[in-house]
């Protein structure tokens, strides 16, 4: 009997930290249980061709979204697919690779659910929304040392993408189950990363946490046509406090938290990762439960 994998889409601008995030999730869920699809492989034009046509990779037209949707459909049905590969170093395509329908399939890129037909296939749609200041900070610390970019150049490059992001990437917010915002928090003149998690009020998985965490009262905000509940984590927590917090709302988080946090303190980012892993495990368990019941019904 073939089991449907759990399909997770992670949308967001490049440079937002999606790749790191997906790797962390894979590590925490267990690498043998996770397949990753990078949507950049589905570019329909290489760098040179894009230059000739005059479009950025953010435009739908620069991507073979038809093939991508076909692959989503097959993976969801438990089939393996031959996924194209794009090499960021050369700006051209490499050899395609097989992707197995493992229990968790993480799909990350600019447009994982830009069309409803794709959006409908996921079990969880995450929009990864990193604050511009943070993106600039990362890009500079990464590029400045290697290529000697100035702050102005980096800001200019980020600005140039804005039009396409607004028109082709951000509309996916309307299909999002979970918006993850990373933003800089200044603490004693050094800065750390704060995390906001936004979910539609209509079906919030984190709602049991809101009472616990939201000392400042519940914050709500409209995102992409729906009202969302906003949950903010700004401070590092001692390991025990974090564990107790999660146990207090009925989550058995020790194992995951230990792997995610490791040390004596848990950062907002690690806490968010832990919660996500727990949620994905819950989706999988539910899927398997449904599968069992169906088998009994047939039997």
């Amino acid at each position: 009997m073939r089991r449907e994998p759990v399909l997770v889409g992670i949308a967001g601008d490049s440079g937002a930290g999606k790749t790191t995030f997906v790797r962390k999730l894979q590590e925490l869920l267990g690498p043998e249980r996770v397949s990753i699809i990078e949507l950049d492989g589905y570019h329909s034009l290489n760098r040179q061709e894009r230059k000739l046509v005059g479009i950025t990779p953010l435009h739908h037209r620069a991507n073979n979204l038809g093939l991508f949707i076909e692959h989503l459909y097959r993976l969801r049905s438990g089939e393996r697919v031959l996924r194209p590969v794009y090499d960021h170093e050369t700006g051209d395509f490499g050899d395609p690779v097989w992707v197995e329908p493992r229990p968790f399939i993480l799909v990350e890129g600019l447009h994982p659910f830009c069309f409803k037909v794709a959006a409908d296939m996921y079990d969880l749609r995450i929009y990864y929304d990193t604050h511009q200041e943070l993106k600039i900070h990362w890009k500079i610390s990464r590029d400045a040392s290697v290529r000697g970019y100035t702050v102005e150049q980096v800001v200019k490059e980020i600005r140039q993408r804005q039009w396409d992001i607004r028109n082709f990437v951000e509309p996916q917010l309307a299909y999002t189950d979970l918006v993850v915002c990373l933003y800089p928090v200044t603490v004693n003149s050094s800065f750390q990363i704060g995390v906001k998690v936004k979910e539609p009020v209509a079906h919030s998985w984190f709602k049991f946490l809101h009472q616990k965490v939201a000392a400042k009262g519940l914050v709500r905000e409209w995102v992409g046509g729906r009202e969302m509940q906003v949950l903010s984590f700004e401070e590092e927590l001692p390991y025990e406090v974090a564990e107790e917090l999660l146990r207090g709302v009925g989550l058995r988080a020790e194992a995951v938290l230990a792997r995610a946090g490791g040390g004596a303190r848990v950062t907002p980012y690690q806490l968010m990762l832990t919660l996500l892993v727990l949620r994905l495990e819950e989706i999988l368990a539910e899927r398997q439960e449904v599968g069992r019941r169906e088998r009994y019904a047939v039997g």
Partner: protein, 279 residues
Amino acid sequence: MLLAKLNASGEYRELERKASLIRQHVIRMLMHAGSGHPGGSLSAVDILTALYFRVMRIDPENPQDPDRDRFVLSKGHAAPALYAVLAERGFFPVSWLESLRRLGSPLQGHPDMRKVPGVEMSTGSLGQGLSVGVGMALAAKLRGSGCRVFVLLGDGECQEGQVWEAAMAAGHYRLNNLVAIVDRNRLQIDGETEKVMALEPLAAKWRAFNWSVIEIDGHNFEEIVPALERVGYAQKPTAIIAHTVKGKGVSFMENQVDWHGVAPTKEQGLQALKELGGR
């Protein structure tokens, strides 16, 4: 709980609910004020709701963000609808709405950008908003900003010559970041637009000025949202002719020209609120 899938009717349910709440605000505001324009406010509510709650990238916490999307209410007499939307979106307290048209209130009979957070342009004298929108769209191009500019015009307003001066300029400068939405409710103060001063063929007029034209049902989010979100594909400015019903949502106001600029009495207001699902 976890497998909340999207479906055709569900995607816009929250917007529909919000629009109905906005309509209730509009009726209450006009009842309190004792004057104002219910017809053209109610016909524009769904378009405004789609813009402010789904399509536009704006942040009430940071209303001066230089890269925010802009909205200009060229048909300034629909101010009550704009105020209700801005209040619900968090630009100012909902309690302000009661003060509409009162002496000293920020909520003037027509929008004043210096008094109301979130209002991008002072309007009221018809025919001017699109020119301002052209200026804003040019500014965005000049700054390399990804912001988009949306302008809502009345259909009667399209009889103003300046609208077509602006339309010509937008076509000339290929402002694909500019969207003009015409609230085509087919009525103006003196009667039907086609009798007072015919506008048809309206779509052809915009097309002739080098605009990309879309005609939609202005009360159906399944048509409003995709039309507004299409702006990124266009290589020229986009005109959306939204076919609407003046007074939409209140049976005795719908398609009645007499409700252009008259506020409901208390009894009429209560009846309207009942129909809109309020109290």
